[in-house]
Amino acid sequence: MRDFLRRLFSTEEKSKDIAKNRLKIVIMQQKSNISPQVIEEMKKDIIAVFKKYLEIDESGMEINVGQENDTMGLSVSIPVKEVKKRGLNG
C-alpha cells in the first residue's frame, strides 16, 4: 500500500526508464566491436596508471563504455583517497 501510494504521487523517473538506460549501457558493452576481454584489460591498465599517482578506492570505481552513433565513449569515475606524495622531480 505504501509502495503503491509512493508510486502514485512520486515525480521520480519511471522504473522502466531506469531499467532501459541501465540495459543500454550493459548491452552496448556486450555488443561493442571491442571484445569484452579488451575492455577488461583496458580498465585494468587505466587503474594501474591512476594508482601510480593517486591513492584510489578501487571498489568505488565506476566504468562505463557507451556508444553514440559511431563514436565510442568511455567514462571513468574514480574516488580518490589521497594524492601520493612525490619528490619535486617526480
Binding site: 500500500m1 522504473s15 569484452p36 585494468k44 571498489s59 566504468i63
Partner: protein, 269 residues
Amino acid sequence: MSETNGKVYVITSGKGGVGKTTTTANISTGLAMLGKKVAVIDADIGLRNLDVIMGLENRIVYDIIDVVEGRAKLETAMIKDKHFRENLQLLPAAQTRDKDSLTKEGMDKILNDLRKTFDYIIVDCPAGIEQGFKNATIGADHVLIVTNPEVSAVRDADRIIGLLESQGKKDIKLIINRIKPEMVKRGDMLSMEDILDLLKIDLIGIVPEDEGIVVSANRGEPLVRESQGLAGQAYRNITRRITGEKLPLLDISKQAGFFTKLFKKKTRK
C-alpha cells in the same frame, strides 16, 4: 585476530529462470540489514546477472576468475554495495569464460578466505547439473533450493536435491517462489503442501508473486530493503530464519487487491 568462521549458503535450482538470482540478492541484502557482514558470490560464470539486480554493474573491474587465476586480489575484486558498503560485498562472475574456469580448488580458497571476515557467504550457483554446478556447491555448508510451483521446476528441483544429497549435503532447504494464492485457492496451482509432499525436504520460506520484483530489478535495488509488499516481507522472514529465528510462515492468503483492502477499512469504521 579473531576469525569469524562465516557460514556458506549456496542458492541453486534445477531449472533456470525460477528467481534464483533475485532470491540471492534479496537474502544477501536482508542479512546485511540485520547487521551481518555478508559476501555474495556470483558463481554463474558466463551469465553474469547478480550485479545488475543489485545495481552494481558499473563498478565491476575484476571478477571471480581473475581472483582464481591470480590476476587480482580477492579484496580488490569485491565490490562494496551502495548502501551497506563493507557489510555487503559482491564478487562478480566472469562473463567471457566458460563455467569450468571456476575450479573446485579456486572456489575452496575463496570461500576459506571469506569465512575469516564475513558472517555469511551467499553463493548464486548455476542451475542444472553440469561441472560448474558441482564446483560451485561443493564448499557449501547449507543449500537453499529455489523452485516455482510448476511441474518442470519441481521435477528439476527433485533431481538437484538427489544430486546434493549424494554429495553429502545435510542441510538442504526449499524456497517456493512466485506462488499465486488465488490460483492455489482455485486448485490450479500446486500448493506449498503438494510441493513439500513431493520433494520431502524442509521449507524455509514461500515468496508470493509480486510485481514489485520487476520494479526493483529495473532500479537495481533489491526490494527486501523497503517494500511493504508480501514478497519483501517473505524475504525478510527468510533471512531471519537463516539467522536462527523461528517464525511462522507468511499468510499469503492475505494478499487482497487494492480495492478490497480499501473497502474492508471503510466497513470496519
